[in-house]
Amino acid sequence: MRLTDTLRFARDAATGYPMRTTLSVLAMSIGVAAVVILTALGDGARRYVVAQFSSLGTNLIIVLPGRSGTGGFNPANAITSTPRDLTIDDAGSLRRLPGVRRVAPLAVGTSEINFGGKLREVMVAGSTAEFIPIRNFEIAQGQSLPEEDWNRGSSVTVIGAKIREEMFGNNPAIGQLVRVGDRRLRVVGVLKSTGQGLGMNTDELVIVPVSLAQAMFNSNTLFRIMIEANSRDAIPGVKDQAMETLKQRHRGEEDVTVITQDAVLATFDKLLGALTLAVAGIAAISLAVAGILVMNVMLVAVTQRTGEIGLLKALGATARTIRLAFLAEAAMLSAVGALVGYLLGQLGAFALRQLFPVFPAYPPDWAVIAGLSTALATGLIFGVMPARRAARLDPVQALMKH
């Protein structure tokens, strides 16, 4: 039989049993759609996190107290106790290093903000004026924290956009006195709204001078020191020098960890990439299930069409012709299923992007290609057995089944 005739025969056979065909196409398309949507979610999460990290600032080097065994980011960093505090003077000493553009110490804690009888909990970030450009924040109203001696915190604050809205509504905020914890602070600036950021929502942040924050939280240590290098090339040099400087200041003990944004980014990239791969693997199981369903459907087709197979044999069809016809039908079912699933998946990813505009839910190319080819391969592999069974039928027995 000619190839075009085989394909047409298979197509007619598939459309001749719409229910059975629809169900197997549906199963296959759900499998492929699952791969596309789940990997879109996984890869979207990766892109989102990477983008958030990039928005922390550019050419960032972050110093955190405590020592971590590896150079990369480690969740243990967050709970390691440190023998020696990371102080404001430590941060100050880093300002003089070559290749450093800006340095901002950071102390954080939660407190309450109170104005005109309104009270809410807020995240308080103690830092300096340079914190705002390092983190790529912008001032919407008023001005930044004053340039002053880091150890002498004046009683001022810069508040996030959402805090301003909740505390002041339509009234002017600049110049007002608010109570944060047990301090009375004057609002000097309001941050421009940036939306959800990684770790802390900047719209719900209150920024105060670093020494004031330390006094409020009764602590001498810093949460982080953020360093901005002059250029990307300067990052490794600054990192080494910052480590060296702090080691000297801490009497030769390496009790801090210096990480670069690049390293953090790479770690997250790797972590979430692996996650996406794992999710794709899980989704691929549904493809295998769909393949088995296609096999089932084809086995039913062979039973249903036994009489027809007998007829084809009587009319001179060779075993190869019958095998090819059934294999073509299985391949068609999975190909159409894969295509429909791909479209469904892209539609789902599109819907996700519409619902969550900040979330870049695009399926990665490798996942789409792997999903489609797995669908086709399973369809073909699971089509072989029914096709062989059809080709082996005894024509006399088969004809009697009519």
């Binding site: 039989m1 000619r2 005739d5 025969f9 007619d12 056979a13 459309t15 001749g16 009489g307 027809e308 007829l311 084809l312 044999k313 009587a314 009319l315 001179g316 069809a317 060779t318 075993a319 190869r320 012709t321 024509p395 006399v396 004809l399 009519h402």
Partner: protein, 237 residues
């Protein structure tokens, strides 16, 4: 040289623990252009003989020569090729593919043999005309009457211009009138030189054949040759 030459054919089936001799020691010669009716009670081996002649089944012993060539030793695919080019089948229940149109059903043997579409279409047009099915080409089998279905089946059986047509109770599912039409069609094909072998229960139909093979218990009980055409056809027609 006879068209068909069977010698010492044995066909045994195992039913439970008893062996049934469907065909036993069968010797038979049929010449090209003959019109043969195979008759006999159920279980006499008629259908087994037809399956064997159609290369759908193999004998346990003996040889079957078709056009002088021993076809019992051929591989299944070689037998398929012989079926495709030399043998046409007509079944009692028509055996049309329900999802294909009349024209597509007629074209099926050519499609399977890989004949190009242009040649197929030319032959289908001719066949539709010959069998009076021009207006039924695009009808599915369930939109056709019994007589029309059997005409489609006969058109399909002859489309590859076989030397031999095997008909298994071709009128079994038809009323008297359409049955006669179908028999006339088959006889017209025979008149053009195609060898026709019909398996039938119908005495009247069997009597129309020039040669009758009466089977019983897997053996040939009688082989009746008629020298002249019986006038039964004129009586029933």
């Amino acid at each position: 040289m006879p068209l068909i030459e069977l010698s010492g054919i044995e066909r045994r089936f195992l039913l439970g623990d008893t062996t049934v001799h469907a065909l036993a020691g069968l010797n038979l010669q049929i010449n090209a252009g003959e019109y043969v009716a195979v008759m006999g009670p159920s279980g006499s081996g008629k259908s087994t003989l037809l399956n064997l002649l159609g290369l759908l089944d193999r004998p346990n012993e003996g040889t079957y020569k078709l056009e002088g060539r021993d076809v019992t030793t051929l591989s299944p695919d070689e037998q398929a090729t012989v079926r495709s080019s030399r043998i046409g089948f007509v079944f009692q229940s028509f055996h049309l593919v329900p999802r294909l149109t009349a024209a597509e059903n007629i074209a099926l043997p050519m499609t399977l043999a890989g004949i190009p579409a242009a040649e197929r279409n030319r032959r289908i047009a001719q066949a539709l005309k010959d069998f009076g099915l021009e207006n039924r080409a695009d009808h599915k089998p369930d939109q056709l009457s019994g007589g029309q279905r059997q005409r489609v089946a006969i058109a399909r059986a002859t489309i590859m211009q076989p030397a031999l047509i095997l008909a298994d109770e071709p009128t079994g599912n038809l009323d008297r009138h359409t049955g006669d039409e179908v028999v006339n069609l088959l006889e017209a094909l025979n008149a053009k030189g195609v060898t026709l072998i019909v398996v039938t229960h119908d005495q009247g139909m069997g009597a129309r054949a020039r040669r009758q093979l009466i089977m019983e218990d897997g053996r040939l009980k009688a082989d009746l040759q008629q020298t002249a055409m019986p006038n039964l056809a004129q009586i029933s027609g």
